[in-house]
Point group: C2
Chain length 337, copies 2
């Protein structure tokens, strides 16, 4: 992208949980915004947001919404991205898409800035943001992988309600309140009760037995690392937590890991924070990852039954690093070059 | 144990979550109880419980509480078992101990009735009930293991508050209510907020980096199976769920598993219920395992990257099969012989 002093930015899906966070992060990180356009569906038109002290009104997302826009941050759902991203590209914008619409498209780079920033420059108008579970797993796993090749990652997730949007977070709250009040829990967003319960991830299950979320973690890892040989297998689970995903990760490494070396690697890697205090039983927790940029990493220990095995437990904000922050980081790199 | 028409039974720790469930299960399963003695600490003396239509009053647990007792079901904490079990044995009773006090004692059988009932007869006065996470994992894993040897099990747990007792369940409820009311969560039992959060298991962390709960899962499996070669490595996590533990289990098997065979094995095994409906995204959930005897088993699928790998996801009632039910089942076998 041509270097400018400031860029015209549109947020597609500005009223969603991720869209709102994108706006906050653009302001927090002092992204050089010239014109700001907040786009959403007809029913959200007229909602107002404050950005750098000025008030902006949400406009309806239309095919001609992108005139003069440099960067579109998109998070309005896969079908909306599929429909509108081509119009944005035609209008000369670069779309950074947080949906799954284009992630596996060979022409679309899939980027985690801490891992493959170089892929950003290969874009043909669209850059995809990986799935939240992939990002939160892969930032710490890649930091280890670059020093000691990961042969296989076996992952069990503990995923927050936020991954299904702001309404799902509200459903967790409402269900908890109803259950505490002795009333039955109402289900609207999730297929099963989320409060005081957990369930296998609510994406559809394929013939292989894996759900879509689990398949994304494998395929997206291969694409981001440009390496189909690393084995990634996951079980994805929703838990009654608002907005940060946790993941229990077991790695089979090429060489025997040394935990103190791994601690140093985590401490020195961008986007990660070591939280690994055995004495005080203090490790990554979703409430502490919420609202933070870093993925928290702890429970580092080798497998007593296999010296090549390494456990870690991570927690990262699903809305920030899992979505909005990663997209804004891509925009920042895009504008630097 | 000498066969009788009915047995004199004492419950040690009768007012705890597990003690109360033991009483319920004795009645439900029509255990032949002659005399019933409910024992607890001084502060619970006088509490009343109904059993088969009669009212029983809690008496203080003392060294001379066991005269004439045949079977003691003990769940009052490890230090209490250590102190009082020897007096019960001296008085001629068999102690079925739900605490960790004697589990690794070479003279004490550690028993899951579905797996090693034959060990019950080797007792010298004390029989130990395994840890709840071990039981809920091992009943399904053993069913597979006996047909296709498990080389290694890699487990991530999603453990309910109940494992830390009735007060911990109440703490989850109170914290949820306070947070929903905009008040800070009060911590008394758990070291970290449990409502809308999760954290690494609250047992102490050893020099190896594993917490005690994780070490139990490995060592107890070895003892129950009389096999130190099976590799078991776990990450144990508390989640905001009341009383059923869930576990995400990855198995490395000797032969390539066939999922339809595994389904048959699970369906036909005592103590297990297959809940594996891919089309409806319906799998084991802790709210559905609560109050049930069976461990629910689902998400059965082979690892796409390794045909010897098999995933399963299980949920079991921590208070029932994880503790009280397993103990009563041991008592039933003890009395049959």
């Amino acid at each position: 992208m041509k270097k400018k002093s400031a860029y015209n930015v549109a947020i597609m899906g500005a009223t969603g949980a991720v869209g709102e966070e994108m706006l906050k992060i653009l302001e927090e990180r002092k992204f050089p915004v010239a014109e700001l356009r907040l786009l959403a569906s007809a029913r959200s038109v007229g909602r107002k947001y404050s950005f750098k002290g000025k008030t902006y009104t949400v406009a309806e997302l239309k095919e001609d919404s992108f005139d003069g826009i440099d960067i579109v941050l998109a998070s309005a759902g896969g079908s909306i991205s599929k429909k509108f991203a081509p119009f944005a590209v035609k209008a000369g914008a670069v779309v950074i898409d947080n949906t799954s619409a284009f992630r596996m498209d060979a022409k679309v780079p899939l980027v985690i800035p801490e891992i493959n920033p170089q892929d950003i420059q290969k874009h043909q108008g669209i850059i995809a943001n990986p799935n939240c579970s992939t990002i939160i797993m892969l930032v710490p796993v890649f930091a280890i992988h670059r020093k000691n090749r990961v042969k296989k990652a076996i992952i069990s997730t503990y995923q927050a309600a936020s991954g299904a949007g702001a309404k799902a977070m509200k459903e967790l709250e409402n269900q908890a309140r109803d259950i505490l009040g002795g009333k039955p829990a109402k289900k609207e967003i999730f297929p099963h009760q989320i409060a005081f319960n957990l369930f296998s991830h609510n994406s559809s299950v394929q013939a292989s037995g894996y759900n879509e979320e689990e398949v994304k973690m494998t395929k997206e890892t291969h694409k981001i690392l440009h390496d189909d040989k690393i084995k990634v297998t996951a079980t994805c689970v929703r838990v009654p937590v608002y907005r940060a995903h946790s993941e229990s990760i077991y790695l089979e490494l090429t060489r025997k890991p040394d935990v103190s070396d791994i601690r140093k690697i985590i401490s020195r890697s961008a986007g990660l924070k070591l939280v690994d205090d055995r004495q005080n039983n203090y490790f990554p927790m979703p409430i502490e990852a919420s609202g933070k940029d870093d993925v928290l990493v702890g429970r580092l220990r080798t497998d007593a039954s296999d010296p090549h095995g390494l456990w870690l437990f991570v927690a990262g904000d699903q809305i920030r690093k899992g979505a909005a922050l990663n997209a804004v980081q891509i925009a920042e790199i895009l504008c630097q070059k």
